[in-house]
């Protein structure tokens, strides 16, 4: 539910990192905070955690200015993955414009992935969103660990879904995080451009959108 206020020429979009507990959502956001160098970048807010586990949410605002002077904001949120925080998850998910689903690649975590995905579907419906039309990227994280489900097997499993190909990542080591984010930006752009005419109305084309919002900071550019 993009928040557009024409009087300030401001457009705020919301991206939510969803997934089972401990899959690496917060890690993804922390990596984005250090890897990204967009036009504008706010502070990473890590709200209440206990033993490294999110209790409310984390949030990182980034932004860019269009030629028309459009003030485009992206607020990146993580939800708490633990089962018991469902109502918080639902509140954070509401009015989302896009979702990154962070799955855990470890063999023993596949049931949790499925449960979390079902929960995402359910909660989207509850907040009036449709999983089939919402821009979404699916990332399988922790590829660095031994005993993860094979790459090809995962890709095959997801081949017939709108979210193929999957993004493989090792967020802890900063790998695949930007790539996942860029895939998401691409899908998000399609939707937002359709509604707000980013290209024709504000001079923001797909390439600018993705490049500007996911620009890597100097020290990581190598």
């Amino acid at each position: 539910m993009a928040d557009h206020s024409p009087e300030d020429n401001k457009l705020a979009l919301k991206v939510v990192f969803y997934g089972p507990a401990l899959s690496g959502k917060t890690t993804n956001l922390m990596q984005l905070h250090s890897l990204l160098n967009p036009q504008r970048k706010g502070e990473l807010m890590v709200l209440e955690t206990r033993d490294d586990r999110t209790l409310f949410f984390d949030m990182l605002p980034i932004g860019l200015k269009g030629e028309s002077g459009l003030d485009l904001r992206l607020k990146l949120y993580t939800v708490p993955g633990q089962v018991q925080h469902d109502s918080t998850r639902k509140a954070v998910l509401s009015r989302a414009d896009a979702v990154v689903f962070v799955a855990d690649s470890q063999t023993g975590q596949q049931d949790n992935n499925a449960t979390a995905f079902g929960n995402l579907e359910e909660n989207l419906e509850k907040v009036g969103l449709d999983i089939d039309t919402l821009p979404m990227a699916v990332q399988f994280n922790k590829r660095d660990l031994p005993g993860v489900v094979g790459d090809t097997e995962l890709q095959q499993r997801w081949a017939d879904t709108p979210w193929a190909p999957l993004q493989m990542a090792s967020a802890l080591h900063g790998k695949g995080v930007l790539e996942t984010f860029r895939v998401l930006l691409g899908r998000l752009y399609t939707e937002v451009d359709r509604e707000f005419a980013l290209a024709t109305g504000h001079g923001i084309d797909r390439d600018t959108f993705i490049r500007q919002l996911s620009a890597a900071s100097e020290e990581n550019r190598a």
Binding site: K14, M45, F56, I62, G63, S87, K90, A91, V92
Partner: protein, 385 residues
């Protein structure tokens, strides 16, 4: 309604009191006083939070000082905002959970009510079906009984009618012959006594034959094989047949007082009415017997009153006895089919049920007034239609 994630304003983050104090503290650190405000002024520095300008800092001795203070304020606001966001989110989710809970509660109540209604209906339906089955069973039993009694009675009546007919007429002729004999035999005391005795024997036999004929006629009335259709009935006739039949069954020791009133004929079901009268009289006889066998029966004599009258647009049939009455605790059940207070084998338990159903079939009512050890009065009311 604001969402928890809406960008906070300066007022959301700091009350004016807090802003005042913060201004004082910051000014104490600076060379010249600084002040946080909502509006931009000459030389003021933006206070940013989440890429959002929430206020402006003015005053101070130089740009550098203002920038340093603005940084500090942004840093502080970060923590205030964290708390605000968490609190707002908590508030939102708590409210949503509570609303959800109430919705579930309401749904639960609704479904509970639905199930209760369903189960009530089920009980009703079961009761209804049980009643239908009981009724059908009883009707079946009763109609079979009526039919067999009717058939038996009709058969017996038919078989007895002929012989009793020729016996009566033969006895009459025999009586005439005795008179003839008086002229022919020599007149002696011995012969006269013999012939007188002979005439008495024939007269007694004639009387007996007549009584048999009347029982046969009663039987025919009682069993009047009309089955379903209503015909015009003479209630007095039916009642008196039942009385006679009962007296035949129990011997003439039963004291039944008949008080027939002047009645119009009513449309009814003769065999069911007869059966009902018979059952009620039979109950009365049983009640008398029961009291007879009980204690304190000296000086008491059992009586049954069978009375008919017309009032309130109907025929009232009262059958009253001074027998043992109906005990208080079983009065509720006396109409239940198969309920019987008598020792097993001495009654079918259908007596009063048949009476009540007959009353209903005639759009009438039946009423029982009884006091234990005083007697019982059954009033059958049959409307004249």
């Amino acid at each position: 309604m604001r969402n928890f994630e809406d960008d906070p304003t300066l007022e959301d983050l700091l009350t004016s009191d807090q802003r005042q104090r913060l201004n004082q503290m910051l000014s104490a650190l600076c060379r010249k006083p600084v002040s946080i405000g909502k509006d931009r002024s000459n030389g003021s520095v933006a206070l940013e939070f989440n890429l959002e300008t929430v206020g402006w800092l003015s005053g101070g001795s130089c740009e550098q000082e203002r920038l340093a203070v603005a940084d500090l304020v942004s840093f502080l606001m970060m923590f205030i905002a964290k708390y605000r966001l968490a609190a707002n989110l908590h508030h939102d989710t708590t409210e949503a959970s509570y609303a959800e809970l109430q919705k579930q509660n309401a749904a639960l109540k609704a479904s509970e009510a639905r199930y209760r209604a369903l189960s009530d209906q089920l009980q009703e339906k079961v009761d209804e079906q049980v009643a239908v089955i009981k009724q059908a069973q009883m009707d079946l039993y009763e109609s079979a009984r009526l039919r067999s009694v009717g058939q038996l009675a009709a058969g017996v009546a038919h078989e007895i009618n002929n012989p009793i007919g020729f016996m009566s007429s033969n006895l009459k002729v025999a009586g005439d012959y005795v008179n003839d004999l008086r002229e022919r035999v020599p007149d002696s005391e011995l012969n006269r006594d013999l012939l007188d005795d002979f005439a008495d024997l024939i007269a007694e036999s004639s009387d007996g034959a007549r009584r048999i004929a009347s029982i046969v006629s009663d039987l025919k009335t009682f069993s009047s094989i009309d089955q379903a259709d209503h015909t015009l009935c003479d209630v007095n006739d039916l009642l008196s047949s039942a009385v006679h039949l009962l007296q035949t069954e129990y011997g003439h020791g039963v004291d039944i007082l008949e008080k027939p009133g002047e009645l119009p004929k009513i449309s009814g079901h003769p065999s069911r009415l007869s059966q009902t009268f018979y059952n009620l009289l039979d109950n009365a006889v049983q009640a008398l017997k029961c009291r007879q066998q009980g204690a304190g029966a000296e000086g008491w004599s059992g009586r049954i009153l069978a009375k008919t009258s017309v009032d309130d647009g109907g025929i009232r049939v009262v059958i009253q006895d001074n027998g043992c009455g109906i005990a208080e605790d079983i009065r509720e059940q006396v109409f239940d089919a198969f309920f019987t207070s008598r020792p097993v084998g001495s009654g079918t338990g259908l007596g009063l049920t048949v009476a009540r159903d007959t009353a209903r079939a005639h759009q009438g009512t039946i009423q029982i007034d009884s006091r234990e050890d005083m007697g019982c009065r059954v009033t059958l009311f049959l409307p004249i239609r």
